[in-house]
Symmetry: C2
Subunit: 553 residues, 2 copies
C-alpha cells in the first residue's frame, strides 16, 4: 500500500490518449503534428521479398520512403487454382461498366491497380485488371447483376487494411471499392443512431460524432483508412469492445447487395425489432462473401470525457485473472480496458522501442496489466479507481503500480502495450497469432510454446485479457522453416483442444480459410457452405476466402 499510495495523484483527462497508430492492426494514417490537423501523412508500407519499405505520402503525393524491419510469416492458403467456371474480363465488360459508372470510376491504370491488388502487409498479391468505384447502391447492384450473369468474380474492398488477405484479389477478380460511398445519411441525437454509407472511414465517423457528443462503439488502429463497411464485414473487434460489446449487438441495420444484384433493405434504425429472422447478422463477419454491404445503421454511445489509466504489476497470471474479476466487480460500469503483457514483452519493448521507459523500474515483474476507466465524472471516477487499486494492493493482487498523472504519461503507458508489434518487428522475424482462448487457459499456450521451442525463439504473450484475446508472438533473428513447423499446426491444435478460436478478430480471409475446422464443427461448416451457395450460387463474391474450396465445389 505504501508503495502505491504516493503515486495516486490527479489524472488529467486523456481525450486522445492513444496514438493514431495501433500496431496490432495496420494504419496508413499518422498525424505527425498531433492536434494541429495540418500535416497529415499517409505512410504506405510496401514490401519486396523480405525487405519492407515504408513509403510516405503527403496529401496523396509521394514524398519519400524509409526502410523498416517488418517480417510476417504464418500459414497461407497455397496450391490454389483459379475457379474454372469464372470468366475472364474482356473489352465488352469494361465498356459495360463505363456505361454504368462513367469513365472515371472504371479504373485500369496500372499504378492504381497495383496498390489495390496488394494487401497492407504485402503478403497477398492479386492480378486484377479492373477496379470499379460505384457511387451508390444502385450502381453496386448493376455491377453485381452483370458480374453474376457473366460469372466474373468480384472482390469487395474497403480500406484494404485486413490482415488475412481478405480484401485483395487472389487471381484476376474485379475489385469493387466502396470508397466513393462515404456519406453520412442521418444521425438521431436522442437515440444515438447513425446511418451512413459503407465506404465511410471509421475515423471520419468518429470525428463527426465527436461534435455531437457521441463516439463510435469500435476503435482500431486502422481507423484512418478502414471503412465501416469493412469493419462490419469483418466483425472488427478493437479497443472498445470490452466496454461496448460486439458489432452483432451494435449494428442495428444494414443494406447489402447480393451476388445477383438484389438489394436487401435491412436498414433498420431501431434498438428493438423482432419481426422475422435477423438476416443482417449473416453479413456481419462474413467478409464480403455473401453480399456487399452498402449502408450501415449503428448504435453509438455517448462520449464520456473522464479517462484514467493505471499501469500495474502482478506476480503471476492467476493474479492477473483475479484482478480482472475484481475490476469487473468494483469498477464495473467505468472499466474500459484491461490489457496484459508478460515480462518478455516488457523486455522486448525496452530493448527495441526508442524512448520507452519502464513505469515500474524497481524490478522486472512477471506480468503487467493496464487498467483504463472511462466515465462521466473525473473526480468520482478517479476516486473509484484509486480506492480499487489500494484494495487490490492490500489484497496482494498487485505488487507495484503507477497511475498516469497527465496525458503524456498516459500516452507513454499505452505506448508500451501498443508499441509491442513494432518492437517485435524490429527484433527480427515475427510469427504472429491472434487467438481467442478461455482466460484461465490463455497463458498455458505461451508457456507450452516456450517449452516446445526452447532457446530457438523468444515467445511473447500479450493481449486484451478482458476479451480473452491473446496475441501470441514468436520472435527469431531470421526466418526459419523448422521453427514454423514447430509452431504450426501445433498452435491451431492447442487452440482447438481448449475450445479457442484460431481467429479472434482478424477473420479467416485467404490465410486461414482452410483452417476453419480447428474452430468450427463439420456440420456448421457444411451449413455455412449451404448458405453461401444459397446467397451466391455462382460463388462470385470474394472467392477462395473464408470457407475451404472443398466444401463449396
Amino acid at each position: 500500500m505504501e508503495k502505491l499510495a504516493p503515486i495516486l495523484q490527479t489524472i488529467v483527462v486523456a481525450k486522445n490518449r492513444r496514438s493514431s497508430l495501433e500496431f496490432d492492426e495496420p494504419s496508413r494514417s499518422s498525424d505527425f503534428c498531433s492536434g494541429t490537423g495540418i500535416c497529415r501523412f499517409n505512410p504506405y508500407i510496401e514490401r519486396r521479398s523480405r525487405t519492407v519499405w515504408t513509403c510516405w505520402y503527403l496529401r496523396g503525393y509521394y514524398i519519400g520512403k524509409s526502410l523498416v524491419q517488418r517480417k510476417y510469416y504464418g500459414s497461407v492458403a497455397s496450391g490454389l487454382q483459379k475457379n474454372p467456371t469464372f470468366a475472364t474480363l474482356n473489352l465488352d465488360d469494361v465498356n459495360y461498366f463505363k456505361g454504368i459508372l462513367g469513365e472515371k470510376n472504371v479504373i485500369q491504370d496500372e499504378d492504381r491497380l497495383a496498390t489495390a491488388n496488394v494487401d497492407w502487409m504485402h503478403k497477398y498479391k492479386g492480378s486484377s485488371k479492373l477496379l470499379l468505384r460505384p457511387t451508390c447502391t444502385e450502381e453496386v447492384s448493376q455491377i453485381l447483376k452483370y458480374c453474376n450473369s457473366r460469372r466474373l468474380a468480384v472482390v469487395p474492398q474497403g480500406g484494404n487494411t485486413g490482415l488475412v488477405g481478405g480484401s485483395v484479389p487472389v487471381f484476376d477478380e474485379v475489385i469493387v471499392n466502396l470508397g466513393s460511398m462515404d456519406k453520412i445519411i442521418s444521425f438521431d441525437k436522442v437515440s444515438g443512431i447513425l446511418v451512413c454509407e459503407a465506404g465511410s472511414i471509421l475515423e471520419n465517423l468518429d470525428a463527426f460524432l465527436a461534435n455531437e457528443g457521441f463516439i463510435m462503439p469500435l476503435d482500431l488502429g486502422a481507423k484512418g483508412s478502414c471503412h465501416i463497411g469493412g469493419n462490419v464485414s469483418t466483425n472488427a473487434g478493437g479497443l472498445r469492445m470490452i466496454r461496448y460489446g460486439s458489432l452483432h449487438g451494435n449494428v442495428l441495420g444494414l443494406e447489402a447487395v447480393l451476388a445477383n444484384g438484389t438489394v436487401l433493405d435491412m436498414l433498420g434504425t431501431l434498438r428493438k425489432d423482432n419481426t422475422g429472422y435477423d438476416l443482417k447478422q449473416l453479413f456481419i463477419g462474413s467478409e464480403g462473401s455473401l453480399g456487399i454491404i452498402t449502408k450501415v445503421s449503428i448504435l453509438t454511445p455517448s462520449r464520456l470525457f473522464s479517462t484514467n489509466l493505471a499501469f500495474l504489476a502482478c506476480n503471476d497470471f492467476f493474479s492477473c485473472q483475479k484482478l480482472l474479476l475484481e475490476a469487473k466487480r468494483k469498477l464495473g460500469e467505468v472499466l474500459s480496458a484491461f490489457e496484459f503483457l508478460d515480462s518478455q514483452s516488457m523486455e522486448m519493448v525496452l530493448a527495441h522501442l526508442d524512448g520507452t521507459r519502464n513505469p515500474l523500474p524497481s524490478s522486472l515483474y512477471h506480468f503487467y496489466v493496464l487498467i483504463e476507466t472511462t466515465g462521466s465524472d473525473p473526480s468520482y471516477d478517479r476516486e473509484k479507481l484509486e480506492a480499487f487499486l489500494l484494495q487490490s494492493m492490500e489484497g496482494g493482487l498487485i505488487c507495484d503500480g503507477a497511475v498516469a498523472q497527465d496525458t503524456n504519461q498516459s500516452s507513454s503507458f499505452w505506448h508500451i502495450r501498443e508499441g509491442l508489434p513494432e518492437a517485435l518487428s524490429k527484433a527480427g522475424t515475427v510469427y504472429k497469432y491472434d487467438l481467442s482462448l478461455p482466460v484461465e487457459k490463455m497463458y498455458g499456450l505461451v508457456e507450452e510454446m516456450r517449452l516446445r521451442l526452447g532457446q530457438s525463439a523468444k515467445v511473447v504473450g500479450y493481449g486484451h485479457l478482458g476479451d480473452g484475446n491473446l496475441h501470441l508472438n514468436i520472435s527469431t533473428p531470421e526466418y526459419d522453416d523448422s521453427v514454423l513447423r514447430k509452431i504450426e499446426p501445433f498452435v491451431y491444435e492447442w487452440t482447438s483442444k481448449h475450445k479457442g478460436s484460431i481467429s479472434a478478430e482478424h477473420g479467416l480471409g485467404l490465410m486461414k480459410a482452410n483452417e476453419i475446422h480447428y474452430s468450427k464443427s463439420p456440420e456448421t461448416v457444411q451449413l455455412m457452405a449451404s448458405i453461401k451457395k444459397l446467397l451466391d450460387p455462382n460463388c462470385i463474391l470474394n472467392p477462395y476466402k473464408v470457407l475451404p474450396q472443398s466444401v463449396l465445389h
Copy 2:
C-alpha cells in the same frame, strides 16, 4: 430547484426493487413472502370465453382460483388450414418415442396436454395429442430426425410465456418441451461466461449467478417460468436491455438441433471468434422455426449493488426526449432504466390499481419519467444522480420530481409503471400494441390515435423510452369490432410509414406472421423463406408461425 432539493435524500439500495410480476409479460411465479423463499405460489391464468380466472398453485398443488378481469384483443392469423403434407400421429409413432424417451417422458395425459396446448393468455389453443420431454440433446435429435422422416409437425416449447401464440400448437403438432433440460453446464467466474441447457428457467439462472456475483443480462416479468432457450429463440428484450444490450451481443454460443436431427455445435464460450459465418445469430429470434436450441452460452455482467430511482415530471414529450439525451450523457455508465408514461397512464393507474399513490401529487403532469441508475458505489452514484437532477430542474427539463428514499418507495414508484397493464385490464377491454419507433416520432402515434378514436376509447402511451419501445394501449368499456377496425391496420401502417417495427420484443408468432411485410421488405422476407426451406425443407418446425404461409408453399 427548491422543489426538488428537499427530497434528494439517502436512497437505500433496492436489491429486489421490482416485484417478480412484470405485467407487460406474463408471469406464473409470484413470491408472496418476498425474500423468505418459503411461500412460492404459481398463479396460472385460465380463461374461458371472456372471463379470466387466476388459478393458484402452491408447490404444484392447486389451492384455489380467483376471478380477474383480463381481456386481450388484437389481430390473430385466421383462416388457416392444416398443412396437408403433414402426417397424423399414430400408435407406432408414440411407441417409437417411448422407446427413445421412456414412458414417463411421452405424455398423453389430457390434463397435461390441455395446459400445454394453450398459451398464457388463453388466446391461442391447439389440439396436440402428444407432449415429449427429452432429457438431452441426443434425444431431441432422435425426435426431430424421426418427425422429419414421418413429416410430423413439431412445436418447440419452453416456459410457454409468449404473447403472440408462438409456443403452442395451431393444430395437432407434437409438442417438444425442453423443461427437463435445465442443467448448468459451466460457469467461468473470470470471464462471466455461463453455459447451460436451454430448459433452464431464467430466474434460476439469475439466482445461481447472484451467488457468484453476476447477473443475467436480461430480466423480464416471466422470469419465473420462461426458459433461457425460449428467451434466445424469441430474442427477448426486457428490462436490462438499455444497459446490457441485446441477446445478439450477449449470446456467445448455442447448440441447436435442425429439423433433420443434425446437432449444430456452435457452443462457443469466447467473446471474440471470427471464424466463418456467425450461424448462431440465425437462431436468435427465429422463434423455434429453424431449429431447437438445446444449449446456450451467454456473457453475464458483474452484479452491481447500488441502485437509485427517480420519479420525474415533464411538461411535454420533447422534454422527455431531451432528458433522455442528457441522462445518457451525464449519467452515462450508471443509467440502467429510462421509462416514460403519459398523464392518461397515470390517471388509469390511480383509478384502477389499489394502493397506488401519485409520488408528485401537487399536479397532474403531461408526462412522467422513471430514471434508474445501477452502479458499484452507493454514495458516488447517488451524488451523480442528484447533481444531474438539480441541473435538469434548473434547465427546465423536469418540472417536479422525487427520489426514492428506501426500498418501499422504490417499489411503489415501479409499481406505477409496472402496474399499468393490470390497471388497464381492470378498466375494461384493452387493445395492446408493442411497437418500436424512432423516439422523436413515438408519441405522434398516440396523439393521432386519440384524434382518430375521439371519445370512443381511452388511448394510453407508455414504455421503454430508452429503447424506443412504445406500449400503445387502447381501452374501451366493452369489446367493439368497430374500434378494432379503426385501430388496425392503421396502427401497422403508421408504424411502417415511420420505419418502425410492429413487434419490438414479442416476436411475430402466429399473431403477426402475416403482418411481417409492414416491417420487412419483400426481398428480405423471400430470403427468410429460402433460409427456412434450406434448414427445414419439410417445414415441420413451428409451422404457421413467423413467416406467411404464402412465401413458404
